[in-house]
Amino acid sequence: MNRREFIKIAGVGAGSLAFATPLFDFSKGEVLAPDVHPGMYSKRTPTYCEICFWKCAGWVHTNDKGKIWKITGNDDDPHSNGRLCPRGTGGVGMYTDEDRLKTPLIRTGERGKQVFREASWDEAFTYIADSLKKIAEEHGPECTALFTHGSGGHYFGNLLKAYGSNNIAAPSYAQCRGPREVGFIATYGEGVQSPERVDIRDTRCLVLIGSHFGENMHNGPVQEIAQATAKGASIITVDPRFSTIASKSKFWLPIKPATDMALLLAWMHVIIYEDLYDEAYIEKYAYGFEDLKAHVAQMTPEWAYGITTIKPDVIRETAREMANASPRVIIHPGRHVTWYGDDSQRLRAVAMLNALLGSWGRRGGFYNPAKVAFKQYPHPPFPKPDRSWKDAFPGKYKLAGLALASGICDATVPTTERDCSFKAWIVNGTNLIHTLPNQANTLKAIDALDLMVVVDTMPMEITGYADVVLPECTYLERYDDIRVSPHREPTIALRMPAAEPKYNTKPAWWIAKGIADKMGLGHYFPYKDMEEKLDWELKQLGTSLDEMKRIGVKKFKREEDDLYPLQNLDDFEFYTNTGKIELFSTAMEDEGYDPLPKYTAHEEPPYGYYRLIYGRAPMHTFSRTANNPLLSDLMDENSVWVNPKIAKEWDLKNDQYVWLENQDGVVSKTPIKVRVTERIRFDSVYMVHGFGHTNKKLSRASGRGASDADLITRVHIDPVMGGTGMRGNFVTFRFEAGKEVAS
């Protein structure tokens, strides 16, 4: 192989550039020696990923023309260990996507019809500031809410707080991991957090209930599962679908959907009555063991068999598999756990099972994460709002720790009982049309708004309903707050621009500050730009913006040597009422909820209908990546997985397109391709979430695949914390489109 050959392979005329002088700004990032192809220089700038919320740190490589070339992981980052997932690697496509929002827009047509006129930033800010001031005068600032999913949330959150409202909601709570936090806090006094504090690297047995790592590409756990299994760890996967991770598991339990609670209770029964639990650990730390023992006395594997379809000997064998690994065992809490409405209780059962096996606070179980004490750039104290979203729901969802996106949506629909419903929404980085269940309700809420501002990088369905659309630049074109994440070792990571913002797009911090200035709230954003803010914050930690530009990620020492605080039965006071691990939850009892989780039978699919199960594909995040040119090239539509027996009954063939109709007569807006596969139970169908876009401005994604969100019209609300259970919908097949024509 000689050099001439690979210059040719580069296929970009590299030869002529061979010894060109690098043209970049040396003050930004690090310039490397020839790295692209011979004679081409590249520069790398640090970032952390925004494609999902694992936020892996990496390097953005640009070539000598300033063109973003590729993104790779940062070796010092515990989230990525130097290796990004396909979405992180494909993050370049978010930047190059020619369908991006390009300039501020003000709506001129009917809501949802995507008719806008272009506006200047100043004009857009004036429009928003005037509307918000009017709403504050007429209804109070508390009638404005923020929905956010991503880095911009911090700046818009501060804008909202400065204005006088603390109604800040992320769909990642009530639509995703909220029940898990509530279930674990009720048991241990602490939540699972993100990244999850699971010590997969050193575990000997990992139990996954509905979690589909490998398809869900949360980078850290996927990497650690590969490491752990290579060292001999076993995996037990509970899933009605033969997922990728099920195929790599020692045990696959193809459970009847909606019956997981019975399995968890039966496992606890076996572990208690076969004396497989960690006696010393339970003796020292647990409260309510005898109550639990009595509670599960009748919940035998034989009892659970009739409910779950999992054979009693398999339930016993898997319980023993876990106990053999104890305490290096993890019954994984999962992440998207809003399924059936009793989710906080199911996650309580998960937490309790871990406690019986002594895995919390132990190596190979759950570690104690640490993060640096981070001081934000100082600003004046925010005014105290008179009302919060909770006032709309007196006596309900008492253990909700964060605002409910769905709750705010519900409280926007005007009723006679409430004196003020929400009048304005600011929506940043979340496509609520696909994110919230029950679209009809969401649209009714939007219809009642005086103002909706959407800040996004892409034209999504939600942007069509906005009064003002503000185009955010992508994460590759901006500074953001320092990533301060809890992990085995505390780390911080820097995101800085690798290129100038394309088109007339701006970073979220600049947008929030601009609106604040217009409203006379500029003093809450007392910095000139992000460089000033970040440098001040980093100097408080003994580093600086200059250093972080060079290294991207900085590790700190743990302040205390307490990664596994319960490893040797050390004294420990839990943040619960009793100071113990509460197998019997006093907090639940105090609020009138079941102190011990009970099995509830959930509705089953009617004849000819199948339970709608949805999940993730490794190359996509929710509905936000469907138009990314690199990622849509890998997967540009979803399919509906159908068991061959069911396919035969309906005469369905592979690659045939069908519409899905749910139990309420709602038909998918777009057709979906059939995938006949043995990998799914006969009583369920499966589809990947995030497809079925109807916004025609998404040239690659529009009309491709179908949206599960369209079909989730029935929502089972978790009474404990308001989570929206979305797995109680059933669909059947239709061979023609519904009456409603896709907008």
Binding site: M1, E5, F6, K8, I9, A10, G11, V12, H37, P38, W69, K70, I71, T72, G73, R83, L84, C85, P86, T89, G90, V92, F213, G214, E215, M217, N219, V222, Q223, I225, A226, T229, A230, F242, T244, I245, S247, K248, W252, P254, P618, M619, P629, L630, L631, D633, L634, M635, N643, T677, E678, R679, I680, R681, F682
Partner: protein, 177 residues
């Protein structure tokens, strides 16, 4: 020196990171790819097996593409890497027809393109881009003539297979079982 790659089917989750990394590293035009994922399900519910493979040009030691190329554009380079000299390629597609692995495509600029084992990286002692990004470390690349290389060790200690061995192409991409 004999370069080869082994893909651990036990570790591979089929995430496609190798595919995107190749596309960005080598500026492969959208709509084409030099590597790809194959998933094979066998059995009937609930007794199922799933094999996932990251596939690409096999860099065969007895390569039909090299044999059939009328202009010698397809050739063996150092370490047995099979490359296409694009300036010599006339786009006749004989190589595409002869490849049993369907590993080649016509680049929009008119020449035939395929996996190069990232020869430009390998020359600098780096792994190919696909190997370097794999989140589960499912791929190893190295020299089969070096008994201490990671790939030689993997091949010595694990069961493995190659694809379509009956074609007699002597492929250099292996799948650890």
């Amino acid at each position: 020196m004999r370069y080869a790659m082994a893909v651990d089917t036990r570790k591979c989750v089929g995430c496609n990171d190798c595919v995107v990394a190749c596309q960005t590293e080598n500026d492969v035009p959208v709509g084409h790819c030099r590597d790809w994922i194959v998933e094979v399900t066998t059995g009937t519910y609930p007794e199922l097996q799933l094999e996932i493979r990251s596939e690409r040009c096999n860099h065969c030691a007895n390569a039909p593409c090299v044999r059939t190329c009328p202009t010698e554009a397809s050739h063996y380079a150092a370490g047995g890497i099979v490359l296409v000299e694009e300036s010599e390629c006339i786009g006749c597609k004989a190589c595409i027809t002869s490849c049993p692995y369907d590993a080649r495509f016509v680049h929009p600029e008119g020449y035939v393109d395929k996996c190069t084992f990232c020869a430009h990286r390998v020359e600098k002692g780096q792994d190919p881009a696909c190997v370097s990004v794999c989140p589960t470390h499912a791929m190893v690349f190295g020299d089969l003539d070096d008994p201490n290389s990671e790939i030689s060790k993997a091949m010595a200690t694990r069961k493995w297979k190659s694809l379509i061995p009956e074609a007699g192409t002597d492929p250099k991409v292996f799948y650890l079982l």
